[in-house]
Amino acid sequence: MVKNILTTLLALLISSLFSSQSFSGVLRVGLVLDKGGKDDKSFNSAAYAGATKAEKELKIELKYVEATDTNAIESLLRNFARKNYDLVIGVGFAEKDSMSKVAPQFPNVKFAIIDGEVSKPNVRSLMFAEHEGAFIVGALAAMATKTEHVGFVGGMDIPLIRRFSMGYSAGAKYIKPKINVSENYVGVTGEAWNNPAKSKELAITQYGNGADVIFVAAGASNTGVFDAAEDKKKLAIGCDSNQNWIKPGFILTSMFKAVDVAVFDTIKDAQQNKFTGGLVQFGLKNLGVNYTSDKYNEKLLTAEMRTKIEEIKKKIILGQIQVPDYFKRK
């Protein structure tokens, strides 16, 4: 018995000395996820979904890693580049500084970053106009409310989430200038993205104070607000991915951010040698952000609301409505 174990271990030791490395012609893509990880049901999940879809449909070789902290991001990006990956994708604004350092050192590697802008020739920056999407769902919330009171629950109190909140309340006030908008944040640390109990509490308080529609942008904490909506028979609005299915009948709509599409298209471009650096904007215009409508919420969104919201969308695209942007505030 002992002898068997020893032989196995020895065999493993020897085989470890000759670690296999596959060299084939397929495109190799490295995906560096943010601290939230691939199961945050939010933008990391969406990026991961886009990449796995590409892995299946485009037959690329995908390797993903999750950052343990901010300092680790740089070494992960660098490691992928050193291993001659063809395309390295960074997810989240936290990777911006690291990528601006690493990308110039590896001019032959293609890079892409989501939610951050890096002006280097071999980097494609994929930016989303969250404020436009938030404005649309804010307008929908104002149309759906019966109490003239809507709420917002953000995850961690950071500028990106303030951008959601600002667009949302502007959208609500566009429909009903006198509407009451409550605003709360789950927390001030990274834990805020993963604390559904706290977000449920906040939502119950807001519902108790008279709000009847709550928009939540809090990563994995979103589910807490959906639970509260079900308990109190009120409405909630999801974020980032299409979350209508989580509590059918209680989720008015979701503010959708097409992170998966952006990732998939970037990989596809790299595969077909069409990759270009520079800034790619995703807004209402190219459906990079949008509200979602499917079988789970078709009864909640009335025909009247749909026509009105399409009008507002057109006005935003044409520039007739100026959506306030927290990033460009004075």
Binding site: L13, S16, T68, L76, D157, P159, G190
Partner: protein
């Protein structure tokens, strides 16, 4: 030395588990070794994790010596780091050699103050320091976020971080360690951390204060009978503990980033508890324990990268097994000595 046995047993068991995940334990081990020492770049990154862990490990160790459990190193280092950044932003005119010294002193002061609060409450009100420090961690996080995002934000970036401190505050140009490890956050604060560890060893084992501290931790009743002021020791040990955690401001803000970044710490304060336990609260041992924990933390990313089934969380599992191994070894020792005593 005996702790090494526990350490290796823990590491061995943890690596064996990877076998069931379909990985080759030797391969995993070689990745970890390569990740820690593989190149100057890797070693530099490992040291950049080691430095704050030395500070936090010392912080927790000192409080343990006094019979206190400082769970608040995270809050203390947060307050110190934001203070260093705030000083660097608000007083840009201070000339070079004084600027970093000023910022570091301010950081230590605030870190010490953040340790003073639970120490004082414990001495005067008898409030348990574990509860108070945990609550202060959240207050620190909130205060630091508010300062970083509302008072001194970086207007050129959407990242949650403060503006850059004035160049006078950075000692990059004189930093030999940073030159040895280019492209990494490693910096001269590693040397400072080792110096402070040695200093703490002297204070704890060779001074009257250190003796009082240990006497209080070993048997508070007896120490009080011997004329040692309990309140003085409680408050002073927590102040020192807070200042030590505050040392992180040097490695993070003044040494590498040049700014306070929200969420920069991957729970250094809490890993510091493990470091102190592993080192048996010996300041010199803390250096090695911090290096080991730093290497494992760094290795997490590489394991994730090099293998298909092992994720970043696995390094936590290894850390847990090592702590269990060391604790188990200590318990075994305890059982053996008590048996000898009985006989």
């Amino acid at each position: 030395m005996k702790r090494l046995i526990g350490l290796f047993v823990g590491l061995f068991i943890a690596l064996l588990i990877t076998f069931f995940a379909g990985e080759n334990p030797f391969h995993i081990f070689s990745i970890l070794i390569k990740s820690a020492f593989g190149s100057m770049y890797d070693l530099g990154l490992t040291l950049s994790y080691t430095t704050p862990l030395i500070f936090c490990g010392l912080s927790v160790a000192v409080s343990f010596h006094a019979g206190l459990f400082n769970v608040g190193a995270e809050g203390q280092l947060t307050m110190a780091a934001i203070t260093a950044a705030a000083v660097g932003i608000l007083f840009p005119q201070v000339p070079f050699p004084f600027a970093p010294i000023l910022a570091f002193t301010a950081a230590l002061f605030v870190g010490g103050f953040w340790g003073f609060i639970p120490g004082w409450l414990r001495a005067v009100r008898g409030s348990h320091e574990v509860i108070i420090t945990i609550m202060l961690n959240f207050i620190a996080a909130g205060t630091a976020n508010w300062l970083a995002l509302k008072v001194i934000p970086n207007l050129n970036s959407q990242n949650p971080e403060t503006a850059m401190v004035s160049n006078n505050y950075l000692f990059k140009d004189y930093d030999l360690i940073a030159r040895i490890f280019p492209d990494t956050p490693a910096n001269a604060s590693f040397g400072v951390a080792i110096f402070i560890a040695v200093l703490m060893w002297i204070i704890i084992w060779k001074t009257t204060f250190g003796f009082e501290l240990r006497a209080m931790g070993a048997n508070s009743e007896a120490a009080q009978r011997a004329g040692i002021s309990k309140n003085k020791i409680l408050v002073l040990s927590m102040i020192i503990s807070g200042m030590l955690a505050g040392g992180v401001a040097l490695s993070e803000v003044l040494g590498s980033a040049g700014q306070y970044r929200v969420g920069f710490s991957p729970d250094y304060g809490f890993i510091g508890i493990a470091v102190a336990l592993l080192a048996n609260n010996n300041p010199i041992g803390v250096i090695f324990a911090a290096f080991l924990m730093g290497a494992l933390h760094k290795g997490a990313a590489d394991l994730d990268m090099e293998t298909t089934t092992i994720t970043r969380d696995f390094s936590r599992i290894i850390q847990a097994f090592i702590i269990l191994g060391v604790a188990g070894q200590a318990y075994w020792e305890h059982l053996r000595t008590s048996r000898i005593r009985k006989n």
